[in-house]
């Protein structure tokens, strides 16, 4: 490993940390504009986090240590995920430590802790949210794995940075298998990040919540960590999407500092685009009935399987 690879690694984590709330702020801004509202500042998520960090957490008397630990575990899992996703460059020293399947496992770990913590205090809404989250999760994970497998078959490896590099360096062509999996991945992204049409991050109706219901009991720095982790998760998913479907622009192979310097604005441009697209999807859709979520995710799975079949049949 060259020193610049370690620099790439550090930069990837630092940029993820800095950009996650910003990305969320951008999505919220786009949503507001699309709905003809005046938007809050781009920095609003940071202000929210700062506010929460200044507050004392209030913890239920019945809470176990798990409840206190969960925010740190969830946040750490998202940070670890950010370290192995090739958002800026594909030569990540830590990329060898965890492949795409481990990445899916990291998300699952975070989910399990989140759901356990939600049930820990014993309020009805926590349990309600945890139940729904597990339902969404057990359907979304296979779909996500299937998406990863298609990319793995194309590049004959499960290491995400290598997949990304392979996809970036091969001649530009329209690949039907990647088109199918791209749609499947977008659907999984929406479901996994509690976005419309599966969940509504802006709702105050406790009976309809999924993600928000699970963090209802959190406050202060714990809530700040949970919210930060949620925005990091969204950014991670976006970066996985870029690595698989828009790999161009990030530093590949043995490229030097110049490529890395160019990777940053490339990432910014991709995020700006993805945020606008996400906001558009959320604005034109209504929320699905909870029992429509399985259909939605089954469709995602089916599309990913189609992608794989197309790859096997056409060998693209």
């Amino acid at each position: 490993m060259r020193p610049i690879d370690w620099f790439t690694q550090a930069l990837a984590v630092a940029v993820a940390l800095a950009a996650a709330p910003l990305f969320l702020g951008w999505v919220n801004q786009c949503r507001a504009w699309l709905q003809n509202r005046r938007a809050a500042s781009l920095w609003q998520p940071y202000l929210g986090l700062r506010k929460l960090l200044h507050k004392d957490p209030v913890i239920a008397r019945e809470a176990s240590p798990l409840f206190r630990a969960a925010p740190y575990v969830v946040f750490a899992a998202m940070l670890a995920a950010a370290a192995v996703i090739p958002s800026m460059g594909t030569r990540l020293p830590m990329g060898a430590a965890a492949d795409a399947i481990v990445l899916v496992g990291l998300f699952a770990t975070a989910r399990v802790f989140l759901a356990l913590a939600a049930m820990d205090v014993g309020t009805p809404f926590g349990t309600l949210g945890a139940r729904r989250e597990m339902m969404v999760g057990f359907l979304a994970e296979p779909a996500l794995l299937m998406v990863v497998f298609v990319a793995s078959l194309i590049s004959a490896t499960t290491a995400l940075p290598v997949i990304s590099e392979h996809l970036a360096l091969r001649p530009l062509e329209l690949s039907p298998s990647l088109a199918f999996t791209g749609v499947a991945f977008t659907m999984v992204l929406l479901a996994e990040n509690a976005r419309i049409p599966i969940d509504n991050p802006a709702t105050h109706l406790e009976l309809t919540m999924i993600h928000e219901a699970m963090v209802l009991e959190y406050s202060g720095r714990h809530l700040a960590l949970m919210e930060f982790a949620a925005s990091l998760k969204l950014l991670n998913y976006a970066c996985i999407g870029f690595a698989l479907f828009l790999p161009w622009g990030s530093a590949t192979g043995r490229s030097g500092p110049l490529a890395l310097a160019l990777a940053l604005p490339a990432l910014g441009a991709k995020l700006a685009l993805a945020g606008a697209a996400l906001a558009t999807i959320e604005t034109v859709s209504a929320k699905l009935r909870v029992f429509r979520a399985p259909e939605f995710l089954a469709t995602a799975f089916l599309l990913a399987v189609l992608g794989m079949l197309v790859h096997l049949l056409l060998g693209d």
Partner: protein
């Protein structure tokens, strides 16, 4: 004895057109209820008057095709058995809660009534909810403190998985003993409190109160005043329907609807401020007429705004109608069949969406509605989609009515203050945006209020919500609840 015979026996009272009061004997109280139930008439309200204003009396207001009959039953201060009046809950199911409220507020008991308190929570002890037993059944308690800033109410769901088996409401958290507060007012001042019983129906309440007051003192208001009141009432209907349509979209995750309808509502509110001096018309209606008059330029602003709102809401309606996601959420959610609605006495807007085609503005028009000729809008689906459709229809009709009022507004005085009145009884009945709002007013010596009971249509509709949710899934409840949009404050008194 048919129900018409009771009208013949009653004496006319002032206020709502065709209103009559009959003093019932102990045996007749049930007979009246049975006759009206047999005739398919509806019970509008049931309330009690405590001993501080004379003999303790319980009142029931029935709404039949040709008028409003109020039955009064004196309950004396006799021994225990005679202070129990015959309950009506078997004939009119929603009477059960009003009888519990009468017991809480006045102390009069109905026979065979539910022993649990309703409006008063101060008695301590656990409130015994009805438990649902079974494999995998569990309870979800929601409220009275909610995640959003809304009025307080407690909802106890018994569910299997996400499916609701039973909902039981507990209300009364907004109880403030408003009837007692009324007794501290002069009758000529009470309209200001009436407008605040349920803020979203301020004009309906204030008008119903003033109608009762003017009826009690046999005072005629100038024609212009009546027309201006109708203008205010229709503006209130427009504002509420716009707000609800936006909120319904938002509750289905379609925030675009909320911003658009909020914008339209804001336009109406601003036009209202320009033309009538208040965004929400809390103090526009006053005894004898309207405290505000409409200038020519104000009328022009209102006309322009309402025309624009009507046009834009047609456009938004097509978006709502053609949005697959919204249709899927609205259709089939919270269905109240016309049969169930008739049996439970579902009223007002929600009733009209379930085939109960009753609208006081059309059935028994009072001035100026007899001249305006509002069209009846009705659906039969009974689900959230039908209540959305109903709102769109009524919104369009109200916009048309506002146009007609502005065209035909008679000239003249907008207010003719009534003389001070001593010792009178009147009843006001107005079709507010949610349904019929009734105010019964008894004026005592020196023009003080002896007794005043404001009745909100939410009394009838809250129990129906418990039925509407059965078999639906938990996360659909907020949407179904919003499609009724019932008042807590107006109900909790």
């Amino acid at each position: 004895m048919g129900h018409r015979a009771w009208f013949d026996r009653g004496r006319p009272i002032g206020g709502a057109p065709g209103a009559r009061l009959v003093r019932a004997g102990r045996g007749e109280w049930r007979a009246i209820a049975e006759d009206f139930a047999a005739a398919g008439a509806r019970l509008l309200a049931l309330w009690g008057q405590g001993g501080e204003a004379g003999e303790p009396t319980v009142f029931a207001a029935y709404d039949a095709a040709h008028g409003l009959l109020i039955a009064a039953l004196g309950c004396g201060a006799g021994d225990d058995s005679s202070s129990e009046y015959p309950g009506l809950q078997d004939l009119f199911p929603f009477a059960a809660r009003m009888q519990r409220a009468v017991r809480d507020l006045v102390g009069l008991r109905a026979s065979a009534m539910d022993p649990r308190p309703w409006l008063r929570h101060g008695d301590g002890g656990d409130y015994p909810f009805v438990r649902v037993a079974g494999d995998g059944v569990h309870e979800i308690p929601v409220g009275p403190v909610h995640a959003g800033i809304i009025e307080p109410g407690h909802f106890r769901f018994s569910v299997v998985g996400e499916k609701v088996l039973r909902l039981e409401q507990r209300l009364g958290y907004a109880h403030k003993d408003i009837e007692r507060r009324f007794r501290e007012f002069d009758a000529l001042e009470g309209h200001r409190l009436a407008a605040r019983v349920s803020g979203d129906s301020a004009v309906a309440y204030a008008w119903a109160y003033c109608q009762a007051l003017e009826g009690a003192s046999k005072h005629e208001i100038p024609p212009r005043a009546a027309w201006l009141r109708a203008l205010a009432l229709e503006l209130e209907r427009i504002e509420n329907h716009l707000g609800d349509l936006g909120a319904l979209g938002n509750d289905a995750g379609f925030a675009f609807g909320l911003t658009q309808f909020s914008r339209l509502k804001e336009q109406v509110l601003r036009a209202s401020e320009t033309a009538l001096g208040q965004r929400y018309l809390l103090d526009a209606v006053a005894p004898g007429g309207m405290r505000v008059d409409l200038s020519r330029s104000g009328a022009a602003v209102l006309a322009d705004t309402v025309t624009a709102v009507a046009a834009e809401s047609i456009e938004l309606r097509s978006i709502y109608d053609e949005h697959a996601g919204l249709r899927d959420r609205f259709a089939g959610a919270g269905t109240v069949t016309p049969e169930l609605a008739a049996r439970l006495g579902l009223t007002g807007l929600a009733g009209r969406a379930s085939g109960q085609a009753q609208d006081l503005r059309i059935d028994r028009p009072w001035a100026p509605y007899d001249r305006l000729g509002p069209a009846k809008c009705g659906a039969t689906g009974g689900d959230v989609a039908a209540r959305v459709e109903q709102r769109f229809e009524e919104l369009a009709e109200s916009c048309r009515l506002v146009g007609r009022i502005l065209e035909g507004l008679p000239a003249g005085e907008s207010i003719a203050p009534p003389p001070a009145c001593e010792d009178g009884f009147g009843v006001g009945l107005v079709e507010g945006w949610r349904g019929p709002v009734l105010v019964a007013l008894s004026i005592g010596e020196a023009g003080r209020i002896r007794f005043c009971h404001p009745h909100d249509p939410s009394w009838q509709n809250w129990p129906v919500l418990e039925h509407a949710i059965i078999g639906n899934i938990v996360p659909d409840f907020p949407l179904i609840n919003k499609s009724f949009n019932l008042s807590y404050s107006g109900h909790d008194l």
